[in-house]
């Protein structure tokens, strides 16, 4: 079918009434059309947020390309309709549709939903609701797609377990083919939905919540989870790609017509991270670090730029500075992109002589700001969180940058970290002041272009599963506010306070995020309640209502405080204990205790900490150190 002959799912008069109608029409370069007669499985892949956010996500592009490389599978995309279209669809009873075929989502074989952040949970319900699919897995029939979740939030899927038929724990490249084969076979043989789910529960990495029973102790706290059948595994092992060079990577990604939040060619330089920051979940669940080779990256960059016509290239990873071939890679890319008039958008590199030199080459005269993420103000707190960044790194890096002509510095901090004292909050202000002082001390008056500008912002800390801080007590909203005000006052007391601006994030979303991060199955009815009372797009400040959420927990009898405002006992069972992500509980507990002593643990490249990820037998764990 020619692209221009495609019928849009929405009639013209609806498209002309909504903001950015191209969000809903599909047909972008790189999107894939298939013929019904050639396919056996229609997979709708959903990012439950607005198009511009969802289209910026690399993981969906990888899975979209991978699934469409299978002849019998058609993977289509789906994003949350923005509130304007949401309203029209409800009023006019229009069914939610996938972008490529324009057909109802309900008719698909699979509905995959990626869970990148907790605040998208009500958007899951919106997608199900507008599709006409029951919220709860137990209420679905053969007329409904298999609803499968993936992404980082599945490392504690329990609060939303009831909404999903299954979860995929780990990296999508590994077992999707096997799962789809099983599905096609079961359907051909007329196997019931229930029996298919039972079979799927035996596929490595696939977690089927309905195959497990959960028990609670006398306080109503999670106690244990047991499989309902002998042939269903008690623990689910994270699936992971061992060799990135031979794994699928999309060289023809979908290129949005309208400007997406991240609208550029992307190469993924590595997966995982060597730095064991104790607050960071990504650092643990993607272990061990696996690099893609420079040769592969150079090839992929050239191909993607040629195939998409993008004029900007970015490098994706958790900590790009740690790639062992970065210097060679950047030298090549700078040369190649300069010739082709392509911009390189640099990730936040560790500030040193090399990275400043690189930035000097790729940035224009109006030098952009420099970014540091010390996460904490005092050295003691940085040791507590195991952030291997010293005050010398920050001040030395700033000095080099100021001498190189930069005069804007951005700093990211967290407040509400475990073992935090008032003096640690004040240290944030003092650090900012020190940086300003470095500027005035090192840049002579006649060489200053405008004055130094320091922008510090702080978010509030949320303890996440599979981190050393999973036992931690979260601060109450009043404590957060107090700490933020204390920090603000301290900034105002500094000598260079006029050069410093300080902002802090909203504490309301933080609290709700904390509940979803470490909650259990009892949370689900509160999510339904909140959604039915108007909660949607909770990640957006203009649509988020804290009061509505607290009311939802109260009305549904969810003791939300117990999930977040309580220091957990070392031996307390967690709802997510059934997931085996390589990193074991004993290692995390040691790290929790070491945090209390402000003891630093070396990174993976310096010294193995014996976290357990070596059981995958790949990446840094098997490389020479």
């Amino acid at each position: 079918m020619r692209f221009e002959d495609r019928k849009t799912a929405l009639p013209d008069e609806v498209l002309m009434r909504v903001d950015k109608p191209s969000r809903y029409t599909g047909g972008e370069p790189g999107s894939v059309m298939k013929d019904d007669k050639d396919i056996r499985c229609r997979f709708v892949m959903c990012f439950p947020d607005v198009y511009e956010i969802g289209m910026s996500h690399l993981g969906i592009q990888i899975l979209y390309g991978l699934l469409n490389s299978y002849e019998d599978v058609w993977c289509e995309r789906l994003y949350s309709p923005w509130t304007d279209l949401d309203k029209i669809m409800r009023e006019e009873k229009l069914p939610l549709f996938s972008l490529e075929s324009g057909r109802p989502v309900k008719e698909a074989d699979f509905l995959g939903i990626t869970l990148q952040y907790e605040m998208c949970y009500t958007n899951i319900l919106q997608v199900l609701d507008l599709s006409g699919i029951p919220f709860y897995s137990k209420d679905r029939t053969d007329d409904d797609p298999i609803v499968i979740g993936g992404g980082p939030c599945v490392y504690n899927p329990e609060p939303i377990a009831a909404f999903f038929d299954m979860f995929y724990i780990g990296e999508g490249e590994v077992v999707y083919r096997r799962l789809i084969d099983l599905y096609e076979k079961c359907r051909d043989e007329g196997v019931s939905r229930q029996d298919f789910l039972h079979e799927a529960a035996k596929v490595p990495g696939i977690y089927v919540p309905s195959m497990y029973d959960v028990s609670y102790d006398e306080n109503g706290r999670f106690k244990s989870m047991t499989p309902l059948f002998d042939d269903v595994p008690a623990r689910i092992r994270k699936q992971l790609v061992k060799d990135l060079d031979s794994s699928f990577y999309p060289l023809y990604p979908v290129v949005p017509f309208i400007r997406a939040t991240q609208d550029r060619a992307v190469i993924e330089v590595q997966r995982g991270c060597i730095r064991g920051c104790r607050f960071c979940q990504a650092g643990q669940i993607y272990k061990p670090i696996r690099e893609r080779s420079v040769d592969t990256l150079e090839y992929q960059a050239r191909e993607i730029l040629k195939n998409t016509g993008y004029e900007e290239l970015s490098l994706s990873s958790l900590s790009t500075s740690d790639h062992t071939g970065l210097k060679r890679l950047l030298e090549y890319l700078i040369g190649y992109c300069d010739e082709k008039k392509i911009n390189i958008s640099l990730p936040s590199l560790r500030i040193d002589a090399f990275s400043l030199d690189v930035m000097d080459k790729v940035q224009d005269v109006k030098k952009n700001s420099l970014t540091f993420a010390p996460e904490a103000g005092s050295q003691r707190m940085r040791n507590v969180i195991n952030k291997g960044l010293t005050v010398q790194d920050i001040l030395g890096g700033s000095e080099m940058a100021f001498k190189g002509g930069w005069n804007k510095v951005k700093l990211y901090f967290m407040l509400g970290l475990p073992f935090e004292e008032d003096e640690d909050c004040r240290a944030i202000a003092e650090l900012c002041n020190e940086i300003a002082k470095v500027y005035f001390d090192t840049v002579p008056k006649e060489e200053r272009h405008g004055s130094v500008q320091i922008t510090a912002s702080s978010s509030f800390f949320v303890p996440k599963p599979f981190t050393a801080f999973q036992w931690a007590r979260m601060n109450r909203p009043e404590e957060f506010e107090e700490k933020a005000k204390l920090t603000k006052r301290a900034v105002r007391e500094q000598l260079n306070q006029k050069r410093i601006s300080y902002h802090y994030h909203d504490s309301g979303t933080t609290i709700i995020e904390g509940i979803f991060a470490r909650g259990d199955r009892k949370v689900a009815p509160a999510i339904v309640y909140a959604y039915e009372h108007g909660a949607l797009f909770d990640a957006w400040t203009e649509t988020f209502s804290y009061e509505n959420w607290i009311k939802a927990f109260n009305e549904t009898g969810v003791d939300y405080e117990d999930y977040i405002f309580r220091l957990r006992d070392d031996n307390e069972p967690f709802p997510w204990d059934f997931i085996d992500c390589g990193v074991n509980r004993q290692y995390l507990l040691n790290e929790w205790h070491r945090a209390a002593e402000a003891a630093v643990t070396p990174n993976c490249r310096d010294k193995c900490a014996g976290c357990g990820a070596a059981s995958y037998g790949c990446g840094i764990c098997v490389e020479k150190r």
Binding site: E4, T8, T25, F257, K341
Partner: protein, 232 residues
């Protein structure tokens, strides 16, 4: 040294919901994908030198729009058309290209008028009734002394050079030739609204607006398509 090529293009299907800036971004990417030797501006933020004659409104199709693109070297403009169409499959296609003489006005300044067709329905009306009512409405439109533009409130009657209705392939069309430019710019949606008003009680509803051609002037002051020889 560089050479300026005026590319004629059409846009149809779901791509018509793109805004003007998104169309430009689409063309910039197509030029790179096609591997064309495009000319860039100097400076720290080099960008392709590209100018569109007449921004397309969201929802509008076109059979005859124009974009001027500068290249470092051009052998055969038709080759550019081929290469572009080799990478464009989404609903926008190049349909012709001419090398512009150095003195040619830039695309936007050259625009004097444009042809349109508006496909419309009158819900609840039989074929014959539609024909009769449409003919009366277009007569009313042409005989009125004032046609008001929705946004500006300006009288754009002078901007309607031609208007008629046609009924083919089961579709009702209002055919228009409208003045465009800085002095008087008649938009097809405004003219259609005035036409729809003339129906009285049963309103005509626009289904699709399609631009058919854009005109500039030649030395004799006659309207000629923007891609023809002799256009100023």
């Amino acid at each position: 040294m560089s050479e300026r090529v005026r590319i004629r293009f059409k846009r149809q299907g779901p791509m018509r919901y793109l805004g003007h800036l998104d169309m430009m971004r689409y063309f910039q990417k197509a030029v790179l994908k096609a591997g064309l030797d495009v000319k860039y501006t100097e400076g720290y933020h080099p960008h392709q030198i590209m100018a569109f004659a007449y921004p397309l409104a969201v929802g509008m199709e076109t059979y005859g729009d124009y974009a001027d693109i500068e290249f470092n070297t051009v052998n055969d403009p038709e080759e550019i058309v081929k290469k572009l169409n080799g990478v464009m499959r989404e609903g926008t296609y190049a349909t012709g290209a001419v090398l512009l003489p150095e003195k040619a006005l830039n695309a936007m300044a050259a625009v004097e008028a444009a042809d349109y067709e508006v496909i419309y329905d009158i819900p609840g009306c039989s074929c014959e009734e539609v024909k009769e009512a449409s003919k009366r409405a277009v007569e009313t439109l042409l005989s009125s002394e004032s046609v008001t533009a929705g946004k500006s409130g300006k009288n754009i009657r002078e901007g309607i050079l031609f208007a008629d209705v046609s009924f083919t392939e089961g579709e009702n069309r209002l055919i228009l030739k409208l003045l465009s430019g800085s002095k008087l710019n008649a938009r097809p949606a405004d003219v259609f609204n005035a036409f729809a008003e003339a129906f009285g009680e049963r309103k005509a509803v626009s289904r699709l607006i399609r631009r058919l051609e854009i005109y500039g002037k030649n030395e004799q002051g006659e309207l000629v398509p923007l891609g023809s020889e002799g256009v100023l």
